[in-house]
Symmetry: C2
Subunit: 236 residues, 2 copies
């Protein structure tokens, strides 16, 4: 076998293995979309059983992270990828860390769902649900972008996070006003506030995922760039 | 040059480069210890100028992360490290992500320090200061353990996080009681509550750092292990 065909062979093995790893990332991502969805349903419908299911299923999320992390380390050792191949493996390793932390946040929301709320407090939950759906869409979009390594969609997700931050601030103010008027409800409403924070953090994680896509495609770390800088940088 | 001496040569270049990267991680860690310290000082002494300095200095933390991340990618491409050498590089890449996020939390604490508190609220800050010092010690210890890749200290830090969580719960309850008694103070006291949360999260990050040390030395991912499992696993 000459050198070129050996390289080709190595490269095609790399491609097969990385395709499998990527399909695992997608499976992990799909599971997290479902977890977020269920955690929100649980808190809105006061469904303790569903909340417990979300908490239990987080173990599966953790298993995915451990498995994919191992697969990535092994592909670096075996295939010694360079340049863009290595960037892809490193982007995946970073992505699964954020996905696992999204799992932690959904578990926190599910825990808050074990609390029972009166009808007035139920109304406060509606805005939480809206915020959650918005972030759920972001998560869906960024996973889709990750599957296709699509920078344009990544950029849109990155921008969307600013809107999430504003929605989150509105909810925070609303909840603080409610607490001021109903001081006895503070411990209960704090659970809603932590859940809102968790959802907002999931938005941050989606933004991180968008950055890894840009890192992979453009070879640039954009973690600390503003939206305008980012737009400029990826257009070059 | 025969193969062995070539390997030796490669390995010694790797050692020199990795030593430099490690010294950068230590510099970044030292900066973060100082940032946490100053953020706490700023909030306790209502020192807006110091708070602003902490916020500005966070840019330096970000620069460190970008630089070290680049150095790690480059050493993987150039030196193609295997086994424990690769584990070390990957552990460093994970560690700097957590260190950078510790920077984000110190910036959040510094922002809360721009708020002014009355003398009664000042008393609430004392517990925050205690929690902050406790976590500051954890950060110091885990950085020290990272410098020496010392599993025993890493294990102690890992255990310490449980204590932080308990202290944090006590503070949360105390702050909620205060808010219930002084509903008009809710927005202000929420800043203290967010700061307590930030400190608690820094504790979580220190725990992550401890896990990377164990990952490097023992070659085992212990992210989702309980304290008892962990103790057993690293004794094997």
């Amino acid at each position: 076998m000459d050198k070129l065909s050996l390289n080709k062979h190595i490269s095609s093995s790399f491609n097969e293995e990385i395709a499998e790893i990527r399909s695992h990332v997608m499976a992990m991502g799909g599971l997290l979309e479902q977890q977020l969805n269920n955690a929100l349903k649980a808190i809105i419908n006061a469904d303790a059983q569903l909340a417990k299911a979300v908490i239990d299923t987080d173990l599966k999320v953790n298993d995915w992270q451990l498995q994919i992390d191992k697969e990535c380390t092994s592909i670096i050792v075996k295939r010694q990828p360079a340049a863009s191949d290595l960037r892809l493996v490193l982007a995946i390793m970073k992505a699964i860390t954020d996905l696992e932390r999204i799992g932690d946040e959904t578990r926190r929301i599910a825990r808050a769902a074990l609390e029972s709320f009166n009808s007035e407090q139920q109304e406060l939950l509606l805005n939480l649900d809206n915020l959650g759906r918005h972030v759920g869409q972001m998560l869906h979009d960024v996973l889709d972008a990750f599957a296709r390594m699509d920078v344009e969609t990544a950029l849109l997700v990155h921008k969307e996070d600013k809107k999430i931050d504003r929605e989150y601030e509105v909810i925070t103010r609303q909840l603080m006003t409610y607490m001021a008027e109903n001081p006895h409800s503070i411990p209960k409403v704090m659970n809603v506030l932590w859940s809102a924070r968790s959802i907002e953090r999931i938005g941050d994680r989606c933004k991180n995922l968008a950055e890894y896509i840009i890192f992979f495609v453009k070879g640039k770390v954009v973690r600390h760039s503003s939206a305008e800088q980012l737009e400029q940088e990826i257009r070059i």
